[in-house]
């Protein structure tokens, strides 16, 4: 068994933690020590030996300092055609002077908003990395959307990362949405150079009644980056929450997405695409908790894996006994492009109610050679044909991204990666 469950190498992180939120941090620390880093055989982190990876790759377990970001850097990082609110971060520190705002939106640095009930949505006791973040985050953001406010343009969380010593970045995001509010967030991380670092992010979203919230996340940091992301949201009655998770690169990435459906007539959508090459390892764990009757969850994750990349998908649907008339759908489809690529996919359904509609399915296959030949036989070169087929495969998820500039940006990235022009 691994000795990593008592990880001395993270001590530096605790020592460097700011004085703010002291009781919250203390709870986080205790919770972290109660859990330890996941051991190699840990069920929740099976297939993703994150502790070992951290020990081997992260040389300095201390928080990465804030780096200076210029207005030009911000400008060139925003994808073409984007119009909306931009919130800029440097290694987890919120930079208000480079950020914009919109009516109905209240924004604070976490360091000046100590009454934020952090940890009330993302329970530190449920995940050691959530606990670690709670104990050691340096700054972050508090976003509040007023009641009955619909923020029509998307809100871009532009997170610049650079940690020369191979350090730790702990973004902390708190979003609370008033009743009948609507907003779309885009969480986008950018590496400023190619030195390794560890991102340990926690996003908590407290939804209001009849709220409509969307959270897009684009992960395309460089291939030395280790990341654990925890996104937890409470979804109230008559509300809708949609998450799309697009992962294109990284060393080892683990995404924990937790949707708590707390009110009837609520809908939770979980969509994802992972397009992996090299030795990138991406693990998507989703967890939807149907706690009340008449709620719906939809999940669709699609993976394309090349080279020696590895994917893990674990989709948990929990339907409590009281949650009658639940509709829960889950689908995970994968295409493996090489002999060495691996996918571990597992639906995990726990249903205690007896009048529900739940379905799940996962597929693992290769590129359809017949389809490839068909396209070639019409004069389309092999690389373009391959790209066209793979893009069509992922397109079902990409079509769900309603922010046109973001969708275009991602499509361009994917097309470029697939080396084809169509």
């Amino acid at each position: 068994m691994s000795t990593l469950t008592q990880p001395e190498f993270v001590l530096g992180l605790f020592e460097a933690a700011p004085a703010s939120f002291s009781s919250l941090r203390q709870l986080g620390k205790e919770s972290f020590y109660a859990q330890g880093l996941p051991a190699l055989k840990s069920e929740e982190y099976k297939f993703t030996p994150i502790a070992k990876k951290l020990e081997n790759s992260i040389t300095e377990f201390s928080p990465a300092e804030q780096v200076t970001i210029s207005a030009e850097q911000v400008k060139s990082a925003i994808f073409p055609g984007f119009e909306g609110v931009v919130l800029v971060f440097s290694n987890g520190y919120f930079l208000p002077q480079l950020s914009s705002n919109s009516e109905g939106l209240t924004i604070h640095s976490l360091s000046e908003k100590e009454n934020t009930p952090l940890g009330s949505i993302a329970d530190a006791a449920k995940d050691p990395f959530t606990a670690l973040n709670q104990a050691t985050f340096v700054d972050g953001i508090h976003i509040s959307i007023a009641k009955k406010i619909s923020i029509e343009s998307p809100i871009l969380l532009l997170q610049f990362h650079q940690a020369k010593g191979g350090q730790v970045i702990s973004p902390r995001i708190w979003i609370e949405a008033g009743d009948f509010s609507k907003a779309t967030f885009i969480d986008y991380h950018i590496s400023l150079d190619d030195a390794p670092y560890f991102v340990n992010k926690v996003v908590e979203i407290k939804g209001g009644i009849n709220a409509d919230l969307t959270y897009h996340s684009l992960q395309q940091e460089h291939n030395q980056v280790i990341e654990v992301s925890n996104l937890v949201t409470d979804i109230q009655k008559d509300s809708q929450f949609t998450s799309t998770q697009i992962t294109l690169s990284g060393d080892m990435v683990r995404n924990n997405l937790t949707l708590n459906l707390l009110g009837s007539n609520s809908v939770g959508n979980m969509y994802g695409v992972y397009l992996l090459n090299g030795k990138t390892h991406v693990d998507n764990h989703t967890n939807v908790d149907h706690t009340i009757p008449h709620a719906e969850s939809n999940e669709l994750y699609k993976g394309i894996l090349a080279d020696q990349s590895r994917g893990v998908f674990n989709g948990k649907i929990f339907v409590r006994q009281i949650a009658q008339k639940t509709n829960a759908f889950q689908q995970n489809n994968n295409i493996l492009l090489s002999e060495d690529a691996i996918i571990n996919t597992k639906p995990q359904l726990e249903i205690w109610a007896d009048d529900v509609k739940c379905s799940h399915g996962c597929t693992v296959g290769q590129l359809d050679e017949e389809a490839l030949f068909y396209l070639q036989a019409r004069g389309i070169d092999k690389i373009t044909a391959r790209g066209l087929l793979l893009y069509a495969f992922a397109g079902e998820v990409l079509d769900k991204i309603e922010v046109e500039s973001l969708q275009k940006f991602i499509v361009n990235q994917i097309q470029e990666r697939l080396g084809s022009n169509f």
Binding site: A371, Y374, A377, G379, I380, A392
Partner: protein, 254 residues
């Protein structure tokens, strides 16, 4: 235009074609008939460049150029078109998008300017009428959920768009009702010219009432064992293939 000389091909070590010789000139329609398993579809596939088949002997000249070393896409760009026996369903790719990509790659190869969206659309409209295909069908995913007849019509529509020199129709009549058969055949006939040629691969004579061949060849055990005019097809329709099998098997020396 097409000259096949002593073509041998096998799949996973099993020989299927055992010495095909065939000359096709511009303006001609050739029918390849034969019992199941005789190698008809293999011949069509080998000409189009399907990779599972290994050519073990022989050569194919297409407009004076060696065809066999070319990739499937280059064969298509040179002007070879295969109408598939079983057109593939491709979810997520619309016929329109797919065809524009294909047509512009073919045009680029032929040194022509790519068609812009407007010109492409008007060309599409013109060709759609030819096979009586509905635009709604073309904006859907390629062949997905199409009926058998719609798939075959879509094949001929693609053929019309790509304007091939040599069209190979692989069992295009299979699974078609009489109306669809008439529409598909009409399309093929309208596309024929003095500069193009057609090879019709079929099990039944029925299609040849609509697409009238200049020559009929009977394929059996990987060879062309009998050639004739359209009357041969009628004879086969009446008498079946057994008499040819017997004739060949009794004189077989190899």
């Amino acid at each position: 235009m097409l000259s096949i000389k002593n073509l041998h091909a096998s799949i996973e070590g099993t020989p299927i074609l055992r010495g095909i010789n065939l000359e096709v000139k511009a303006g001609e329609v050739h029918a390849i008939m034969g019992p199941n398993g005789s190698g008809k579809s293999t011949l069509a596939s080998v000409l189009a460049g399907r990779e599972e088949y290994e050519v073990t002997e022989g050569e194919v000249l297409f407009q004076g150029k060696e065809l066999l070393p070319l990739s499937p896409e280059d064969r298509a760009r040179e002007g070879v078109f295969l109408a598939f026996q079983y057109p593939i369903e491709i979810p997520g790719v619309s016929t329109t998008n797919f065809l524009r990509t294909a047509l512009n790659q073919v045009r680029e190869y032929r040194g022509q300017e790519p068609l812009d969206a407007v010109k492409f659309l008007s060309l599409m409209k013109e060709k759609m009428a030819l096979v009586e295909i509905d635009q709604k069908l073309l904006s859907r995913s390629l062949n997905e959920g199409f009926s058998g007849g719609e798939k075959k019509r879509n094949e001929i529509f693609q053929m019309a768009m790509l304007e091939p020199v040599l069209s190979i129709l692989d069992e295009t009549d299979s699974g078609l009702d009489i109306d669809a058969l008439r529409i598909v055949s009409n399309g093929v006939n309208k596309l024929k010219s003095e500069k193009t040629a057609t090879i019709v691969v079929t099990h039944y004579q029925r299609l040849l009432d609509y697409i009238v061949p200049d020559f009929v060849h009977v394929l059996y055990k990987g060879r062309i064992v009998k050639s004739g005019t359209k009357e041969l097809a009628l004879e086969l329709e009446e008498k079946g293939y057994d008499w040819i099998k017997e004739e060949v098997d009794s004189t077989a020396t190899v």
